[in-house]
C-alpha cells in the first residue's frame, strides 16, 4: 500500500472575520494525480498556500512527505514544484535568467531538464518577462516548477491561459514525472482535466472539503457545487 505524501488534518485558516478554510482533512498517496476542484473563493488556493507556508494557519496539522509544514518548511520546498495561478516574475529579467535563478536558489544545475521542458513547451528563453503573454509566463512557471524533478507537484489552475496544444504537452509532462514516481496535486476549474488525468479528487465549497468517490463525475454534479448548498447535498447523495 502506498504511503501518504500529503496529509492535512483539521486545517482551519481564517482571514480575520472572513472564512478561509474550515476543518479540512485530506490525504494524497504517492504516485497519485489528485484533482482539487471547487468554485472561486472556495478555499483551494488557501489550502495550497497553507501547505506551502505562505499563510499562517489557525489550527490543524499539515505533513508533506512526512515533514511538518511549519518546522520543515525549507526542506519541504526543496521537494516541491509549485505553480501559482498567477505567473508573476521580475519584469526586467530574461526567461532564461528566471529559470536559472530558481535553479541557483535550489542549489543545483538543472539546465538539461529545463532545456528539455522549454523545447517541448516552445518557450523562448531569450525574451524578457515583460514581453511575454500570460500563456508564456505560465510556461516559465511550469519550467521553474518541473526542472528540479520534485517529488510533489502542486499546480494551482495551471492551464488557464495555455493553448490546447500546450495544455496537452503539459499533461504529458506530468504523466511522465508521475510515472517516474512523482505525485501531483492539481487545483482546477476544468472538470474534463480531472476526468481525464486524475486518479482521485476532492471538491471544495465554502471552505469545506468533500472527498469524491471517483474523479469521473458528471457535469450536473460538478456544476451543483457552483450553486446553493442544498442542491449540492442532494446531488452528492444521488451520486
Amino acid at each position: 500500500m502506498k504511503e501518504n505524501v500529503i496529509e492535512i488534518r483539521n486545517l482551519t485558516k481564517s482571514y480575520g472575520k472572513s472564512r478561509g478554510v474550515i476543518d479540512v482533512s485530506l490525504s494524497v498517496k504517492a504516485g497519485d494525480i489528485f484533482g482539487f476542484l471547487g468554485p472561486n473563493g472556495a478555499g483551494k488556493s488557501t489550502t495550497i498556500r497553507s501547505m506551502l507556508g505562505f499563510l499562517k494557519i489557525n489550527s490543524g496539522d499539515i505533513k508533506i512527505l512526512g515533514m511538518d509544514s511549519v518546522r520543515d518548511h525549507e526542506r519541504i520546498l526543496k521537494e516541491v514544484g509549485y505553480m501559482p495561478s498567477e505567473a508573476w516574475f521580475y519584469d526586467s529579467m530574461k526567461v532564461g535568467d528566471v529559470i536559472k535563478y530558481a535553479a541557483d536558489v535550489r542549489g543545483g544545475d538543472y539546465s538539461k531538464e529545463a532545456e528539455k521542458i522549454c523545447e517541448r513547451l516552445k518557450l523562448d528563453t531569450g525574451k524578457r518577462i515583460k514581453q511575454l503573454s500570460l500563456g508564456n509566463r505560465k510556461k516559465v512557471s511550469i519550467v521553474c516548477a518541473m526542472q528540479h524533478k520534485p517529488k510533489i507537484f502542486i499546480f494551482d489552475e495551471p492551464t488557464s491561459g495555455l493553448d490546447p496544444l500546450i495544455q496537452k504537452k503539459f499533461f504529458e509532462l506530468i504523466n511522465e514525472y508521475v510515472d517516474e514516481g512523482a505525485t501531483c496535486l492539481l487545483s482546477t476549474h476544468v472538470l474534463s482535466e480531472v476526468d481525464k488525468y486524475c486518479r482521485t479528487a476532492a471538491i471544495m465549497r465554502e471552505g469545506r472539503l468533500t472527498m469524491l468517490d471517483t474523479p469521473h463525475i458528471d457535469d450536473e454534479t460538478f456544476l451543483s457545487f457552483y450553486e446553493d448548498e442544498a442542491t449540492t447535498d442532494s446531488l452528492l447523495k444521488e451520486a
Binding site: L52, L55, K56, L77, V80, E86, W88, S141
Partner: protein, 262 residues
C-alpha cells in the same frame, strides 16, 4: 541566499548609480563653483552669518562660507544629507513590499529559503548599497578638493561616516515599514526623509526644540557641528543605533509572523 542577494544588487544597481552619481556630481559641481565665487564669498559670508536663526540653522553663524571647509559644510553638507537620506528611504521602503506589490512573492517564497534568509539578503543589499553610495560620493567630493588643490579636512571623513549611519537609521525605519502588508510606500519613505530633515532644521531654529534635536537622524550628522569640531553626540548616535536595530528587528519579526499576500 547568495542568489537572492545577487539579484537584489543587480535590480538596485541602476538606482544606486542614478542617485550616487547625481548627488556626487552635484556636490562636485558645488565644490568647483567655490573657486569662481571665492572673491565674492567674504561679503556673502558676513551677510549670511548675520541672518539670525537662518544662519544658525544652516551653520553659517559658526562657520564661514568664505573658506572651502565652511562652504562644504554648509552647502554640500545639506545637499548630501538630503540626497542620501532620500536614497536610503526609497531603497529600503520598497525592498520587501515590492515582492507582494509586483506579485513576485509567490515565486520567490516557493523556493527553498526561509523568510529570514530572504530578508537577510535584502537587508544586506541595503547595507552594501548605502556603503557604495557613500564611497562614490566621497570619491566625488575628494576629487573636488584635489582639483582645487585643497587638503581634505580631517572632519570630512567623520562627516561621511556619520552620514552613513544617518542613512542606515532612516533605512532601518523604512525596512521595518516595508514589512507591512500592502502597497509600495515610496511616497511615505520620501516624506519621512524630508520630515526628518525639516525637523532638524526647525530644531536648530527654535530654541525650545534644541533639547529634543537628538531624536532626529540628522542631528548627529550635521556638517557644521562636525566641521567646527563639536563633541561627539553620544546620546544621538546611541539612539540611532537603537532605532536602526529596532527597525530591522521589527521587519524580520513582522514578516515572519504574517500571511503573504498573493
Amino acid at each position: 541566499m547568495r542568489s537572492v542577494l545577487k539579484r537584489e544588487l543587480i535590480i538596485n544597481f541602476k538606482n544606486l548609480m542614478i542617485w550616487s552619481l547625481s548627488v556626487g556630481a552635484m556636490g562636485l559641481a558645488c565644490i568647483l563653483l567655490y573657486q569662481s565665487m571665492e572673491g565674492d564669498m567674504k561679503e556673502m559670508a558676513d551677510a549670511f552669518s548675520n541672518m539670525g536663526a537662518f544662519s544658525d540653522a544652516f551653520g553659517m553663524s559658526t562657520l564661514s562660507i568664505a573658506t572651502l571647509k565652511g562652504y562644504f559644510a554648509t552647502e554640500i553638507g545639506a545637499v548630501h544629507g538630503l540626497g542620501s537620506g532620500m536614497f536610503a528611504a526609497i531603497l529600503a521602503i520598497s525592498i520587501i513590499s515590492k515582492e507582494e506589490e509586483g506579485h513576485s512573492g509567490e515565486f520567490l517564497f516557493s523556493l527553498p529559503l526561509s523568510r529570514t534568509e530572504i530578508l537577510a539578503a535584502k537587508a544586506l543589499c541595503i547595507a552594501i548599497m548605502l556603503v557604495a553610495f557613500t564611497v562614490i560620493c566621497t570619491a566625488f567630493y575628494a576629487i573636488g578638493f584635489m582639483m582645487l588643490d585643497e587638503a581634505i579636512p580631517e572632519e570630512f571623513y567623520t562627516f561621511m561616516m556619520r552620514q552613513l549611519l544617518m542613512n542606515a537609521e532612516i533605512a532601518g525605519i523604512c525596512f521595518g515599514l516595508s514589512s507591512l502588508a500592502g502597497k509600495n510606500r515610496i511616497g511615505l519613505g520620501l516624506g519621512m526623509a524630508l520630515m526628518f530633515y525639516a525637523y532638524d532644521v526647525m530644531g536648530r531654529v527654535i530654541p525650545d526644540m534644541k533639547d529634543y534635536l537628538f531624536v532626529g537622524p540628522y542631528s548627529f550628522a550635521n556638517a557644521s557641528e562636525i566641521f567646527i569640531g563639536e563633541d561627539t553626540p553620544v546620546k544621538a548616535i546611541a539612539l540611532a543605533v537603537v532605532v536602526l536595530v529596532l527597525g530591522v528587528s521589527y521587519g524580520f519579526w513582522n514578516y515572519n509572523r504574517r500571511d503573504l499576500a498573493s
